[in-house]
């Protein structure tokens, strides 16, 4: 009866503890089910480039800097490449790059967070210091450093982003694992003779699934924007790769004469980020509902 935790005092605040700590709602499947919409959207995006009339670097026979027309829906750029086709391919790249960074961040962060949370003490302290160090790195500066060292490529940009992204996940997972390790169920499992590894994998880590998934889903939009930002300032794949940030940066000089060249890819980034955020919110609300009930 959650109602009993409410207050009757006249002006006193209706204060309630953070509900996430009662992971009672986290029946494994429900949590994973929340990711189904992401999978569906990924599928749609995966086949999107098949709809593209031209390749990412192919020239549309209508010629350079043509206005949008039935032959070139979003027009063509300075060397005659089809903007619509490039955007479809760019969307796919952004989307999967974002998912990749998040997945990598979750795996690395999850591992480090789980170890720190499960061991505690010195191990925890050292790992969390390292995490905080990485957390304090500014993404663009790090990206410049990585690219200076390894050369510009999408892969290197993603490596740079992963380096600054995983610490968030390490923190979340560590926090949840610590909190769960203090619950009697961890002690009860220990008394039942469960091994340490099994304790972490089966009795602690699953409790971090919901907050991690919520963060993951809200992060997709952030990453799409971060990636476009880096690519906009020239820290993405080198030309002629169809990347949304770089396309709109290079098209900027045609803003007045041929606005579709820079604006179409920028609008695509905005729409993609918006879609990702709406999806993230929906997942968040759904899991939140399950945990607070």
């Amino acid at each position: 009866m959650s109602a009993i935790t409410r207050v009757g005092g006249p002006a006193s605040r209706m204060w309630r503890g953070r509900p996430a700590l009662s992971p009672g709602a986290l029946k494994g499947e429900t949590v994973w089910h929340a990711l189904i919409p992401v999978a569906i959207l990924s599928l749609v995006i995966l086949i999107a480039p098949v709809l593209a009339p031209y390749g990412g670097t192919d020239v549309n026979p209508v010629g350079a800097l043509q206005s949008p027309s039935p032959d070139a829906w979003f027009g063509t750029d300075e060397i005659g490449r089809d903007v619509f086709s490039r955007i479809l391919i760019g969307i796919r790249t952004s989307w999967f790059a974002a998912l990749g960074v998040i997945l990598l961040g979750t795996i690395i962060g999850g591992l480090i967070g789980a170890i720190a949370g499960a061991f505690g003490g010195k191990v925890d302290m050292v790992l969390m210091r390292i995490t905080d160090l990485f957390l304090s790195l500014p993404a663009p500066v790090l990206a410049i450093a990585v690219i200076a060292a390894m050369g510009p490529s999408l892969r290197n940009t993603l490596i740079a982003l992963s380096i600054v992204w995983w610490p968030w996940y390490a923190r979340i997972v560590r926090g949840e694992v610590r909190a769960l390790a203090a619950r009697p169920h961890a002690e009860a499992a220990q008394l039942a003779g469960v091994s340490r590894t099994r304790l972490v994998l089966k009795h602690l880590l699953p409790g971090a699934a919901a907050p991690v998934i919520v963060t993951m889903s809200l992060d997709v939009g952030n990453l799409i924007l971060a990636l476009a930002g880096l690519s906009f300032i020239g820290l993405g794949a080198p030309p002629p790769a169809p990347e949304l940030g770089a396309m709109s940066a290079r098209g900027l000089q045609y803003l007045f004469g041929h606005p579709w060249v820079p604006i179409a890819p920028a609008a695509a980034v905005a729409l993609l980020a918006l879609a990702a955020n709406l999806l993230g919110d929906a997942i968040n609300r759904r899991l939140d509902q399950r945990t607070t009930r």
């Binding site: 009866m1 029946k27 008394l191």
Partner: protein, 607 residues
Amino acid sequence: MTGTGPVLDVQDLHVTFASSGGDVHAVRGASLQIAPGEVVGLVGESGSGKSVLGLTALGLLPRKPEPRLEGVVLLDGLDMITATDEDMRARRGTDISAVFQDPMGSLNPSMRIGAQVAEAAGGATDEEVAEMLAATGIPEPEHKARAYPHELSGGLRQRVMIAMALSRHPKLIIADEPTTALDVTVQAKVLDLLAAASRERGVALLLVTHDLGVAARICDRIAVAYAGRIVEEGTAAQLLQQPHHPYTVGLLASRPRLDGSIAGGDLPTLPGRPPDPRLPLAGCAFAPRCPAADAQCAGPLAIHVNGERRNECHHPGVLTRWPEGGPHAGRRDPILLKAPNPVVAPAMVRGVPPEPAVVVRGAVREFERPKPFPFAKRPAPFTAVAGVDLEVPHAGSVAIVGESGSGKSTLLRMIVGLLEPTAGDVTLGPGAPPQMIFQDAGASLTPWMPIGKQIEERLAALDVPSSERGARVAATLEAVGLPAEAQTAVPRALSGGQRQRAAIARAIAVPPALLACDEPVSALDVSLAAQVLNLLCHLRETLDIALLFVTHDLAAARAVADEVVVMQRGEIVERAATEDLFTDPQHPYTRELLAAVPEIHAMAVPA
């Protein structure tokens, strides 16, 4: 006060929540009146609708799922059902206020006590705040006003809530399980404070509780709720001495009593559970559990009113006592469990007396205290357990009693191996390693893992071959009285009592030599508590498991233990055979504990 009418007048109240599984009928036609200044107890098992009734009067029902209200709830003559949120907010504090079970949930953790009291009072000076705190018996009120909620003990926090509830001189206070989370000694003091505050100021009090003993301690009148209706109502003396409704008789019977009339693990239990609030009711809701039910009981309700007394039973007074040793839910002989397991069977040699389940010698446990500021010298450690000797015989049963903070749980955790003793030895007898039952059964089970899996884990850890595990899990569930479906259920899908049974099932799937229980029933309703206590005693007998039972409920200790040990400040101050301790307590602290138990028989009938 506006007149002589009741402060609270509830007439034929129905509260229904729409839910995906069908409408939940939380209150099904309850009526209750409270006169100005009157102290009324509302008693019943959880789910009987008592809290919803209180929240309706407070205008604090949850918004989701949306409740549907029918009937009349007049607070000092004004309707609360049709009132706007605005009106209700204005009346909370000035006309009606509340004290809930969990003060931590009601207090803002990041705001000083004094500021919260001042806010509740609608503005007050520091002196006024100190006065209000002092009036509820808070020592050093000026000092405590500057503390944050977590710096106070549970009892003090509840006093702060009472100070806040009283701060605007309301006409009615609704106290919902205000002492359930507190120790007996503190419980008694907080109850007495509530009663005194209400009598002195002429504030009416509605005490909502699952414990008849608690209501008996301070109430003028008691109403018994069942399945959303008030099934019996009368003065405290009438109800306790001459209950008319069989449910009241059952509630009275399932309270473990200090007089030990039902010691030895045979507490009569109320079999079954209250009806599903989603199902419609025809006739008497108690019929499925009532020993006196007959064909007539399925017909329209019989309502008898006689002066102050009222009941809804076709045969009021048929039952003068609950049948002894009623059916024990799940009482099946766990024969399968006894099949000796080669790995864990104690090395019993014929003729040699079995070794004790555990021997503790000179156990000490210290905890480091945090430094008051970063470069301070580390303060001397805090001694939670200060040199304890204890022995639990093979298949014996020892209870440890004492108020919270006395070191009971710390001792228990050292015995089962969750904590290292700072000094001293713990020697365990042969057999499977000790297991522990926790107060909060829900928290002691992994939330996302099916019960069957959790039991199986322990079997696997003790090398029970995988081919035998399935049958053993099933037999264990049966032995603790859980349905077979519980195997695939996650803890959330079970009720509180079922969760405690599930935790017990895991602990006995391979019977340990020692089962340590830390307040195993203090979170359960009386009838469930009695069932679980019976189950523990029964398992002890059939499986030769020794019980070490920590409790602050002396009556429960009496029901299960052969020997009782009293702890205070980390030391054992008295130990005696159970009967001797209760009939002839030696240590003053033991006497204090005994005197503090809310006891129905020792009740002074309020004038």
